[in-house]
Symmetry: C2
Amino acid sequence: MTEYRSENPFGVRPDGTEPFSAQAGATSSPPHATGTLESGLLLEAFDAQLFREQSETVVARLEKHLADFSIRGLDLTDPAILVDAARALMTTEREQIAAYDENRLAAIVDLYIKTGIQVHSPGYMGRQFSGVVPLSGVIDFVSSVVNQPSSFYEAAQLPNVAEKIMAEELNAFIGWDPGSFAMVTTSGGSLANLTALLSARNRAFPGYWSEGGSALTGQLRPAIAVGDDVHYSVARAAGVLGIGDAQLVRLPLNERHQICVERARPVLDAAERRGLKVFCLVASAGTTPVGAFDPLDELAGLARERDLWLHVDGAHGASLLVSDELRHKLRGIEKVDSLTWDAHKMMFTPAPCTLLFYRNRENSLGAFRQQASYVFDAEPDIYTALDSGEKNFECTKRPMIMPLWTLWAVHGRALFAQKIEYLCRLAGDVHRILEGEPDFETLHHPEANILCFRYRPPGLRDEDVHDFQVEIRNRIKFEGNFFISKVNVAEVAALRVVMMNHQVTSEHFRMLLGEIRRAGQDLLRRTHHSR
Amino acid sequence: MTEYRSENPFGVRPDGTEPFSAQAGATSSPPHATGTLESGLLLEAFDAQLFREQSETVVARLEKHLADFSIRGLDLTDPAILVDAARALMTTEREQIAAYDENRLAAIVDLYIKTGIQVHSPGYMGRQFSGVVPLSGVIDFVSSVVNQPSSFYEAAQLPNVAEKIMAEELNAFIGWDPGSFAMVTTSGGSLANLTALLSARNRAFPGYWSEGGSALTGQLRPAIAVGDDVHYSVARAAGVLGIGDAQLVRLPLNERHQICVERARPVLDAAERRGLKVFCLVASAGTTPVGAFDPLDELAGLARERDLWLHVDGAHGASLLVSDELRHKLRGIEKVDSLTWDAHKMMFTPAPCTLLFYRNRENSLGAFRQQASYVFDAEPDIYTALDSGEKNFECTKRPMIMPLWTLWAVHGRALFAQKIEYLCRLAGDVHRILEGEPDFETLHHPEANILCFRYRPPGLRDEDVHDFQVEIRNRIKFEGNFFISKVNVAEVAALRVVMMNHQVTSEHFRMLLGEIRRAGQDLLRRTHHSR
């Protein structure tokens, strides 16, 4: 391998035990001499050996945590009690120099670990964040210490190179022309969706960036078409971007909770008659409530026929692309304009790690247009060619690609494909279990690893079904053995499991059903829900 | 301390060495049985003992890195060479199950560390990101593994409590009514500035969120007043929000690079005559190019008199509030409406950790308005009262407060105050050094820890000053002993040092001047810059 270290002409090489030894020459400093800094506190806080001791304290606790496969969900604690517990761990004589105390750190870490949702436990079936692959956390640790902001190549060389490599690796499953697509990382799916919509807005309305929305007087009003189950971040983006969240044109879904292309056309026509100019269509892969995949292939036809930018919010489901078994759910992905892909969901890395793909590189440059001499170079060269600062929202950006690239480098795609395939099979298995239980109602066939259902025991009044599910979900949460979520399906609450943990089996799900039944029966006895 | 663990009624407690032992009951699973998952790859990737070994590999390298006080800047590498080096570290038989190989991880970490800017070295004087306090990286490691998204209390209890505590702790230096201010964390200063401006926009134009900018037909056009040295993220926010970046009203600066309040009034009057409705004034504390602090006290008067929202971009300089010596730079801060504060700059934590403060809590709710049944609860309770999901842009948000709170809990504010005071004194010291060197030009008295200057040796033509500074900066970067930046001051490039590392002394700065002189003299000999 290439040797990257240049020679150090100063030959200043301390023995490694005396942090300030490099300041030896500081005696020639001017008044208020900077060489006279003799802070025991700073010396200690930046001491490398202390860093190792602190790391060992933390690693021992994390190892124990990762080795604990007991079934547990969440220990929900009254915030007031937790505030007191946290305050008790703080240096009380704040103005004094506090000597480092290992017990304090250990207590902080213990409290932190045990008050979180236990995402590595088989009791966790709740949301779309996951127990990370431990190695991805280890690399993220390196990022936290070496602190390389990755919007600019010179500040973070390996992260920028890793982004380029991961873009190529993942595009192999999307199928765009390797010479003309683009990818940037950004801080979460909401920001990726906003960035794509911004680029679409600027393309459709070239004066918008400079002149703003109020300059569009007399023109049709910009609007965005979405599936009715679109993630809230898309409506939020419309509000942020000056489009207006009332200018979302909501397309009806079919019985599989997908955008119904046939019924979409008249809705789009009606929007146009109301004076709206729909410039973008947002599809989901899959939706947040039930994990449905919109029919990208058909929607691409619709988008082409009406000159719409087709953006896919694949925050949750884009990862299915790496599986030979499941890739077909995103059939047509090569025809879309942009794609949001959260690696911190189904690629099992620490959050955030969101990848925003564009079919055409020029579109990736259309979101932001900026000059700032302290970060942007007027004359690009081979080093600035990899900069993403003009394409992503952030100025300082975490090198979020490193955990994903490292997992990919070490394990290849097999790790991801195997885990995703297991989780989706598991959702199918538990769906079959539910179909065999007459007191449970299934609401959809799981397309991925998300499943919604309701507990509807005999005696439950129809008008109480909604509140009953919410109360069961809260009861399960408080009991702390399992963590599940809830969502409205057709405006009535449902219980929701998201299978993110490969240590969950259908046997654990059966235990959950038992707990739901007990909670529900208890609620029926205590309240007036029963007829 | 309170015991938070609830009892586990299932008594499923594996011995901790066999990850899948909790699946013992899985034999009763349905077809495609989920209990039959027997992936060696997954078993290995989630093995707790392997996690410890990987952590030890990484900690040893980071310890060595932190103990190395040699003078070094950046080893700038051709991206093509680095791509090859990174590719060589990847599993080649990607479809096969790769056995974990410690050497591969070690090589990745070595390459990652050595290709970054050496922020913990005295050679680093370059930008506004810092060598983190090692303990903050250690806690960030916990965050990376336990993965608690912090927009919602139930998903991240301690981080939400830590946010509440840090809000109170830091507001003690701002001075707002503890009962009515608010703080949220968000992913970087750019996003915080956008969020504040969004809230200001929504307050001034109540229909904007729903109806969008094109509904403002016939009204005055929204505009934002800024100091001429405002960070590029504010202009970017105007473009994003549908205000239009041409609707920035740039206020002139005085000789100290601060907004000149007297000259601001006629500029605002002229903007009004052009049909602009200025609704917000953005001040800087300090500015990115030179670290100037706008006069907040006077600007608050101007804002009150014209009913403007006064937002302060204190990404860099708000941290000076924790120092008794330096707090006066932000005199008047208690009168502003909102404040962006990057802890990942002058509080020395991993990026991102941005705090956005609002004087009035209601304003913190004005940025976003959203319904989503899978995350937001219709009926708030004591647990959802701490949720920030309605106040910050992100849905999944890193628990970025934990490194800051932990440093504050362990060391108190003394650590921050001492380091910041040292860095600001150092900038003053090196300014005095430059004043004694006739071939260097000083451009401003440093208000904080940022200093811009030019090397102007005899024989340099005036028309070449700009290019000469850029070339020197690049030469220093390539030589790799020091890392500094450049910025345009009055449209002519200047060299810029940002003192972020307390291991830098004025002696190191003298070495840098020597290197600048050598580089400059060499350039003068080789090129046509000299008369």
